[in-house]
Point group: C2
Chain length 408, copies 2
């Protein structure tokens, strides 16, 4: 007897999360054991409202999978809703919805919080003796999920950051004078994305000369001394800084950056802007700060071909794992070798991932302001290749899902 499946997305957008969605759908469509292929709009929140769509309706030909895989952000929409701890009526509601739709397989593509949802739901179904399998598919540009070698979405963001810094370095080197650019990079408490800025050097530039990660305490006085030491060279200095850096006493550096806007409102300035102001105040040299903002997570046009291909594979592997009978697991990459670069998709018990954060090991941080060669070896394969982008008339052409709600 066939069973139906449903897939949802949650957390922040990435350039690769729809590739995992495309993988899940494609493998489900191939399987004779799976009947309906449903999608939940806006994650678990939309699921509770029965905002459920038929994904078969949107996938009409082979190219649609490639187009969906090349579409950044989240085709199903997202939510920031985290299931409350069981027992809670939400669990019974979800079970009722799954029964009504004949759903026996649940796939949730997301980060730390989403893995918690998978953990809670799979435990609840087991306890109730229900054969509903729940599989977590990792995604986050932050690369902070434990156990997996890396997370889908990270490679594309890393490529955007490294490539954009290489372009900034080239742009700013056309004038023959000293100037500083502070680039603020995402990643919360994990420095992986900021570390990836070091890959810009592989393009032949010296930038970024200084790299500050949240895993190492930040010392403002030492920072100013280091910047000053570069001011005697007639060149550009690029500082890559994580939004989440903290001083030795554990305070976010950005917390010091309160500013007052044109209307007198006090605002937090952001780490990059604060360091810009600090350099201006202490050294008075030419300096500007740049935030890549959400472009670093959404830039489908600069996605890593390796990342997109792997995200698709891990989505397919998730469906195979569920059909093999697995539940309460997160899909993960295990790196087999660096040269040639080889990974395989396996599973890990969800308890080992949910609500946990993977940060950079101390031995991969050099002198508090750089990364080691081991880090570079780890990072390099993840950004290889430029993903095929779809364009129509010179602008991106995205796949948009048919969002007709199937009410039952």
């Amino acid at each position: 007897m066939k069973t139906n499946m449903i897939v949802g997305q949650s957390g922040g957008p990435t350039a690769a999360i729809n590739a995992s969605l495309a993988g899940v759908i494609r493998q489900a469509m191939r399987s004779e054991e799976i009947g309906e292929v449903y999608g939940a709009l806006n994650g678990i929140e939309g699921l509770l409202q029965r905002n459920i769509i038929d994904l078969r309706a949107s996938m009409k030909n082979t190219e649609d999978y490639d187009r969906l895989a090349a579409t950044p952000a989240m085709a199903l929409g997202s939510c920031r809703y985290k299931l409350p701890a069981a027992p809670h009526e939400a669990y019974d509601q979800i079970l009722k919805i799954f029964k009504d739709y004949g759903i026996g397989l649940f796939f949730y593509i997301g980060g730390n919080d989403s893995m918690d949802t998978v953990k809670q739901l799979s435990a609840f179904f087991k306890e109730k003796g229900e054969n509903i399998r729940c599989i977590g598919v990792p995604k986050t540009i932050d690369n902070d999920l434990p156990r997996t070698d890396h997370t889908p979405g990270f490679g594309s963001a890393a490529k955007y950051i490294a490539g954009s810094i290489a372009e900034l370095a080239l742009d700013s080197s056309v004038y023959d004078m000293f100037s500083v650019i502070v680039v603020e990079i995402m990643g919360r408490n994990a420095g992986w994305l900021t570390a990836a800025s070091a890959l810009a050097r592989d393009s032949g530039c010296a930038a970024p000369q200084l790299i500050y990660l949240p895993e190492a305490a930040f010392d403002p006085d030492d920072f100013i001394k280091k910047v000053e030491s570069y001011s005697h060279k007639n060149q550009l200095l690029i500082v890559a800084v994580s939004e989440g850096i903290k001083t030795a006493n554990g305070e976010y550096v950005s917390a010091a950056g309160a500013t007052r806007d044109a209307f007198g409102h006090v605002q937090l300035a952001g780490t990059g802007k604060y360091l810009e102001d600090l350099i201006k105040d202490k050294l008075g040299c030419k300096v500007r700060s740049i935030e890549f903002s959400v472009l670093q997570r959404a830039a489908g046009h600069f996605a890593s071909a390796t990342d997109i291909a792997e995200a698709l594979q891990i989505g397919e592997a998730a469906v195979r794992a569920a059909l093999e009978g697995q539940t309460g697991v997160m899909m993960m990459f295990e790196r087999i070798s660096n040269a040639p670069y080889l990974v395989q998709c396996t599973t890990v018990p969800i308890e080992e991932c949910a609500n946990l954060e993977k940060t950079i090991p101390a031995e991969w941080i050099v002198g508090g302001c750089d990364v080691s060669e081991d880090m570079m070896t780890y990072l390099r394969p993840l950004v290889v290749g430029r993903a095929a982008g779809f364009e129509k008339g010179g602008v991106p052409s995205y796949l948009r899902l048919d969002k007709t709600i199937i009410k039952k």
Copy 2:
């Protein structure tokens, strides 16, 4: 008898200016009338210091031209130095340098100020009875040079802006709530780049819903009313705003945006940040501002294939024009037709371009906050195609010139 040539670059970087350089070099290398192919480092300023390099040394095979064409920023370096009005000793110095190096052909790739240098120098050489031909090759992302249909570099920046706004719109639509993004775009007093944001709609999104150009007076009260009218719809509002917008009394809107940093220093906030603060103050809704910063001019990875190909062609055409005996002219594109899109390279007397600015005609601006269909028809062909990027190990691979100085 052969004559030697020299080429220089000046003004701000673009993604296409090295394509024009590649075109000039390639055509010069093909010509039997041209001997040495020199480059001046850092424009006219470096020329005066005899910082002259041999460009043949860097171009070893066919692929080098393609790699140079795909390298953003300015391979020869730039300057902001403008020749003082003649008579001035700088003119005699340049003549002496040209004599010492046997130079009879001078190509200057740049914007308005650089065209003034071409104008002054060609007039000086004519007056002295010297057969030294001076040709201006246009470049500027701002698209504000008169007479030419458009400028090389504009199409790539336009593509970056339109594509990035499409990605922003997709990224921000994953949550089901009202929010505003104000995107500040370059272009000084010309709104062409900001107008190009409208191309994002060709990707299927509604953004940008509001477009503010420096050519139309900006009314803050009307702006707030318009933003508020969107707040009743449950969607994302993207506002594209030129850095150079002014109020009806001619004052830059950014001039109102003075802020105080964490150290008490007063700073100008920038137009986008000021509008963000204004919306926050008046409407209290979720809003953020984004600056594309220098990435919009330097993003070689997102360059328009049309732009790069045309920039190369206009560089080649400049050498042909000089060899035909022209001097004191700027190269330009004349648009033959829109469908199929056809342009040809011709020349225009430099007096008709130097120091003049081309802004958007009033009839292409709709209701003070949008652009007309004629504008879209004008813009569309310029962004078609994704330029071939060169990568090594997943990061951009640029051509760097051999900068050995040839002293004479």
